[in-house]
């Protein structure tokens, strides 16, 4: 310790200066944080994630029904009806159904998905997700584009009847 020193390590002036700087830094940091948070709105005016489509038994076996507004397909195979996203898992373009081959092609970077949505060519890393679907009270099919369903999920065609 320095014997000659008359003031303690943290003198009154230094302490006040420190509090001052601290308060200044805190207020700047707080404002910056507020500014960042400001860029993330809490409520959005975006279309709802759920939509309704005709009842399950209206689709012919093997048919592909495109719901453009909701970027989805509704398909029916031997096991039942299921909904599938039309948003390419690569970078989000909307895939097109190629009637001839039954495949789905993405125009942006050439990904190809087979009739179940499995990625078979191009850069897409994952299959087209299957979407959660249920039969609503009115008998129509209700699909939620935000909820992914299991790979083999299907709505039985006679569901909701009787």
């Amino acid at each position: 310790m320095d014997e000659n020193r008359e003031t303690p390590a943290l003198g009154r002036r230094a302490l006040i200066a420190r509090i001052g700087w601290g308060a200044f830094a805190a207020s700047i940091a707080g404002s910056l944080a507020a500014g960042v948070r400001y860029m993330f709105p809490k409520a959005l005016d975006e279309p709802p994630s759920k939509f309704k489509a005709p009842p399950p038994d209206t689709y012919g076996v093997g048919s592909v029904y495109a719901v453009e507004e909701n970027k989805s397909f509704i398909l029916r195979d031997a096991g039942g009806v299921f909904a599938m996203s039309a948003v390419c898992t690569h970078l989000g373009c909307t895939v097109k159904h190629m009637d001839a081959k039954g495949e789905f092609h993405c125009p942006c970077h050439g990904s190809v998905f087979d009739k179940d949505g499995t990625n078979i060519a191009g850069p897409a890393p994952r299959p087209l997700p299957r979407l959660d679907a249920n039969v609503a009270r009115d008998g129509r099919l209700e699909v939620d584009t935000q909820v992914e369903a299991a790979k083999d999920y299907r709505v039985p065609v006679d569901a909701g009847r009787g």
Binding site: F40, D45, E46, K71, L91, V95, C106, C108, G122, P123
Partner: protein, 424 residues
């Protein structure tokens, strides 16, 4: 009164003199003052090395890029008088510009082609700086500032691209923001902040508009100021090393010491000593007065660029596709040409590799160039033989970029499949 004598009497008027505080620039003192006493011109030094005047050294590329940026600011502000950044009205503003606003097409064309040209000239400017070793020595950091300016320019294009709200715009931004989402950990947040939500919609359009018309111009102006300031502080633009300094036994009495490496030695001249001017002309730097030598060259280049741009804007219309349709991706959906190389890479790889890693590494590599092997070999000489390997490496990168762009432009057809250009 002839036009000439009218000009003369104007020049003698008290008002003119109050603005321009010097005599007619018919002597070197007033020519120096023409530069130093003008707020715009004093970006330039009073004298520059004769070497710096050579058109084939710089091809005027930095200056032309600056001019294009200024043209973009003027035409951009004019477009803002009609453009409304909302999904309902954006595309309609573009149609209004085309069909009802007098010279609307012309102005949009000017902005459009100047934007494309600016990307080209900025890239060529960067290549010039590389090939002449102009980023070495004191100029390391100015290369970094240049890379930042280039990235900002691409940011201008990316944000400007969305504004017409046509199909091209909509899908380019859909893909671009999904690439941003591939950033590890923060990706989703970045995308949300860019779009102001989860979809390319009203919030996204407004955000891109504000970035394009306020944030990016402000940033570019700041970095341009730094860029120019550094050019001055680094001793003017680069050139080959000066010939050996004046020998010790050279003329002993000089009015001004010559300071090699600085091109602004001559800032003020005592009126009685015109000899000093002659003296410094013979300095090892071999300098000439900026006014008129550099200024007339700049004016000539500006006239050619402006003339060419006007011609293009008169005869070539900027594209406008169908209005944005979130339900239908056009086939093929192509990014603007300067991003086609990236689109090509993305089409072979995951969004992370093609959209984040490759572009990120490219920018990092550019930033690192002046620091990997700091030396002053070959400054001021195009393709200096001692830099063979560096020149070859940079050229490979450049050629690869151009090749990918060419493939994307001409060899990609429906569903992004490889096609021959003539089979479409």
């Amino acid at each position: 009164m002839s036009a000439h004598s009218l000009m003369e009497s104007l020049r003698c008027s008290a008002i003119y003199r109050s603005i321009v505080r010097r005599g007619p620039a018919d002597n070197d003192i007033d020519r120096s003052l023409a530069i130093t006493s003008n707020v715009f011109l004093h970006l330039h030094p009073v004298k520059i090395r004769r070497h710096a005047l050579r058109f084939t050294y710089t091809f005027g590329l930095g200056g032309i890029t600056t001019l294009l940026f200024l043209i973009l600011c003027v035409t951009g502000v004019l477009l803002m008088f009609y453009y409304v950044p909302s999904p309902e009205r954006a595309y309609r503003s573009m149609q209004d510009l085309r069909y009802v606003v007098p010279y609307g097409t012309f102005l949009r064309n000017l902005h459009h082609w100047a934007a494309h040209a600016m990307i080209v000239t900025a890239a060529l400017h960067m290549a010039r700086v590389f090939y002449t070793g102009a980023f070495k020595g004191t100029r390391q950091f100015n290369w970094v500032v240049g890379v930042i300016l280039f990235v900002l320019t691409l940011g201008f294009s990316f944000t400007g691209y969305l504004l017409p709200w046509d199909q091209l715009a909509f899908w380019a931004i859909t893909v671009g923001t999904n690439m941003a989402a591939a950033v590890p950990l923060l990706g989703g947040m970045i995308r949300y902040a860019l779009l102001g939500g989860n979809i390319v919609g009203a919030n996204a359009l407004l955000r891109f508009y504000v970035l394009h018309c306020a944030v990016l111009p402000a940033l570019v102006f700041v970095f341009l100021a730094v860029h120019f300031w550094r050019v001055r502080k680094d001793g003017g633009i680069s050139g080959p090393p000066l010939p050996a300094e004046v020998p010790e036994e050279g003329p002993p009495e000089r009015l001004f010491a010559t300071t090699p490496g600085r091109s602004y030695a001559l800032v003020a001249l005592p009126r009685e000593a015109p000899a000093a001017v002659e003296e410094s002309r013979k300095s090892p730097e071999d300098t000439v007065l900026t006014y008129p030598h550099l200024l007339v060259r700049e004016a000539a280049a500006a006239m050619v660029v402006i003339g060419g741009l006007l011609l293009v804007a008169l005869f070539l219309n900027a594209h406008l596709e169908e209005a944005a349709n979130a339900l239908k991706t056009p086939d093929p959906a192509k990014a603007p040409w300067y991003f086609l190389g990236l689109q090509e890479v993305v089409s072979w790889s995951t969004p992370f590799i093609g959209g984040v890693l490759v572009p990120g590494l490219m920018v990092l590599a550019l930033l690192a160039i002046p620091y990997v092997r700091p030396n002053s070999v070959g400054v001021g000489v195009w393709f200096h033989p001692a830099r063979r390997r560096a020149v070859i490496a940079f050229t490979i990168g450049l050629v690869l970029n151009v090749l990918l762009i060419v493939v994307g432009m001409f060899f990609r057809g429906h569903g992004w499949s490889l096609v021959w250009p003539w089979s479409n």
